[in-house]
């Protein structure tokens, strides 16, 4: 059993950190609770920068958060909420999402798949969920690559990409996934793995 955890912190403590952060993201200490939540979100941002050290990723995460907040603000403005309360809500929403988002990202960054799997085993979570989760997390980049490759291959065969005509892209990807799942299952079973 692997006892060397990343950053020498047990996954349970990392999970407790995530739960604590999730509670702090919503807990109302007083009427004006922006200060302590701003401090938490800033601390998380700094911690995230220290952990990732990848400016492109940090930029993407911040852009994602801002777009999400902007869309929520537009929604409220369109549907008749006053400008002042929209601004208040947007700031509150940005703080909440920042706290939760960075909290969860820090957890994923500091806890590799094998630690999550090991931790799930200790919690007696069914193998189907833990193995499924590990595979889902590992194959996200593979799926991105498969989409890009399929588009290039289909274009080289004369396919013109249109939004409503996605079957020429989706079917090869789905079949690729079906083949991949069978091959992976055969490979795992031949090594003695059982669900």
């Amino acid at each position: 059993m692997n006892k060397e955890f990343r950053y020498k912190i047990h996954p349970l403590f990392k999970l407790m950190f995530l739960i604590l952060v999730s509670i702090l993201g919503f807990y109302q200490w007083s009427e004006n609770n922006y200060l302590y939540r701003s401090i938490i979100s800033l601390s998380e941002l700094i911690l995230f920068i220290i952990i990732t050290k990848n400016w492109k990723e940090i930029r993407n995460v911040i852009a994602f958060l801002l777009i999400n907040t902007l869309s929520a603000s537009v929604f409220l403005l369109i549907f008749g909420t006053s400008f002042e309360s929209t601004i208040n809500f947007s700031f509150d929403y940005l703080l909440t999402t920042t706290i939760l988002f960075f909290g969860a990202l820090i957890y994923w960054k500091t806890t590799p798949n094998n630690e999550i799997l090991d931790f799930f085993k200790r919690l007696h979570i069914p193998n189907a969920i833990s193995i499924g989760l590990t595979i889902a997390l590992s194959f996200i980049p593979v799926f991105f690559k498969a989409v890009r490759e399929t588009i290039v291959f289909q274009k080289s065969r004369g396919f013109r990409f249109r939004t409503l005509n996605i079957s020429a892209i989706l079917i090869p990807i789905l079949i690729k996934m079906f083949t991949l799942s069978n091959n992976l299952a055969i490979s795992l079973e031949s090594r003695g793995f059982e669900l």
Binding site: S71, T81, I135
Partner: protein, 234 residues
């Protein structure tokens, strides 16, 4: 050896099925993460969710369910989907570990609505009840976390004369919606029914894609291998 094609719906999921479900949920996650920020910015949270995001998710859900008919496939699918979407704003609007519980409950309910064998009945139950269950759970999350989307959307429906002239919502639901209760449930069902129209399209696209995939020789070969394995093990 006689190959049995009869599927036991309540049998345990095999390893390759678990892997396929997890790959499908990661594919759904990737599509959602690519599409949702832009759609939410253009169409706003509720409209993008009701009319576009949920139907997209239902395309993947339908393909998964038709590929693996066993009970529990969608529970596993949504548990995995909810866990990988914890650090994002997908599946509920805000990041958080609460999504695992929502995924478990919603997945179980979707497994139930996909139970009918007849495609037409399944088509209706999964589209109507599926989208109603989906929106009850999402609206509940928004209300628990004090996000004013339900209030703002219901208020807009009350004041918008164009929508009221088509469907007189204010006559049968006491708008705007504040907190939980009977009116909240009625409003969730109403939004679920609106969403059901687009979910039906999502279901049909998913079913059509599955039927196209089902005709390919490689899929037939893999499916035959799976059935052979299942019949030997049972």
């Amino acid at each position: 050896m006689k190959i049995s094609t009869k599927i036991n719906k309540f049998a345990k999921l095999s390893l390759s099925e678990v892997i396929f479900i997890s790959l499908m949920s990661s594919a759904n996650f990737v599509i959602d993460i690519l599409v949702s920020p832009f759609l939410k910015l253009v169409f706003t949270h509720v409209i993008a969710g009701v009319l576009i995001m949920v139907p997209i998710n239902f395309i993947f859900i339908t393909i998964t369910k038709y590929s693996i008919e066993k009970f529990g496939s969608l529970t596993l699918y949504l548990i995995i989907f909810s866990i990988i979407s914890i650090p994002t704003n997908l599946f509920g609007g805000v990041a958080g570990i609460y999504k695992v519980i929502v995924g478990l409950v919603l997945g179980f309910l979707l497994d139930i609505v996909f139970l009918p064998k007849n495609t037409k009945i399944r088509f209706l139950t999964s589209s109507i009840f599926g989208s109603i269950f989906w929106w009850i759970s999402v609206f509940t999350i928004w209300e628990i976390f004090n996000l004013p989307f339900v209030f703002a959307f219901s208020n807009a429906l009350k004041t918008n004369s164009f929508i009221n002239s088509i469907i007189p919502v204010s006559e049968f639901i006491n708008l705007p919606i504040v907190g939980f209760g009977w009116e909240f449930l009625k409003f969730s069902i109403f939004c679920g029914l609106i969403s059901a129209f687009t979910v039906i399209i999502g279901f049909l696209i998913g079913y059509r894609l599955f039927m196209k995939m089902n005709k390919t020789s490689i899929f037939k070969m893999l499916n035959q291998y799976l059935n052979q394995k299942t019949s030997v093990s049972s």
